[in-house]
Subunit: 152 residues, 2 copies
Amino acid sequence: MVSLHPIMAKSADLDPRHILNKSGYKATKGRTCILEVLINEKGPITVAEISKKLGRNKVDEVTLYRALEALVSSGILRKVDLQRGNARYYEFVETHHHHFVCSDCGAIESFSDKLCEKIVKNALKNSNIFKKADTHSLEIFGICSKCAKQNR
Amino acid sequence: MVSLHPIMAKSADLDPRHILNKSGYKATKGRTCILEVLINEKGPITVAEISKKLGRNKVDEVTLYRALEALVSSGILRKVDLQRGNARYYEFVETHHHHFVCSDCGAIESFSDKLCEKIVKNALKNSNIFKKADTHSLEIFGICSKCAKQNR
DNA sequence: ACCATAAACGCAAGTTAGTTGCAATAAATT
DNA sequence: AATTTATTGCAACTAACTTGCGTTTATGGT
């Protein structure tokens, strides 16, 4: 075990191997690289894009799907639907946030708003069958100014 | 043209044929039945479920997909992702609302909250690239009390 | 009521997205 | 270093969705 010089060390919660082990997974070459791609990406990305970014570390598609599913079930990744064809997107969950998506070019802008918690609280209060919320997703769709200009 | 007795008449905005024509579509037997299923359903439903509910009015899957896509593009239907496997859900858009979904059994409870508009407004104000929002989707995920009881 | 026309349809075939079972491999634990 | 158990890759498969094209059908004009 080589210890890194302080300035080189990643904070533990951004180190793929550490994250994997902490959640009871083996830090295999495959999963480490997959998680690394998602940590660096810092935004939603499709399975096909992940595969491409893996480059020479590419894994079998089955392995990729299984890894993603596992990481989602542990809350390390999040699966989001950006209404772009049939693609599902995955993103590393660092802080909870939402997306503003361009329906035309797919540009994504992230945002967060504490009012969301209030809405969830309201929904719980008014619900007959739910007593607790685990998570939520909010996406706003529109046309970005670049596309708006082009389409005119 | 037979005019219906007042008590039999559907309000125009719930009559599939009227809705179709108003948006420039032909009120074919297929599309009329498809839209009828969705109007009666009053909640998100999968393509497979729609097909089953069509019964003897079943249409080819291609026809179904093309009809759904057209109706979504006109804002008559809405496509939602309830994070249940790979199924996409469609629902008739009567009033804007959101979903509280049980991650276990898939039970759906609809709700709406005016705070959402506020969030959209905030997001627009803070955005660098969006000047206008068309629509948004909000889903809350949790375990319903029935499933919570069973799993214990 | 008939005709023209454009939308909508169904079929066949194809693509993309995601899954299952299983034997081989590689982390982690002892 | 040996053992254990998660993870991997392969082959084959299912599910979800799409494209092209010739035929049918609703609708608006005569």
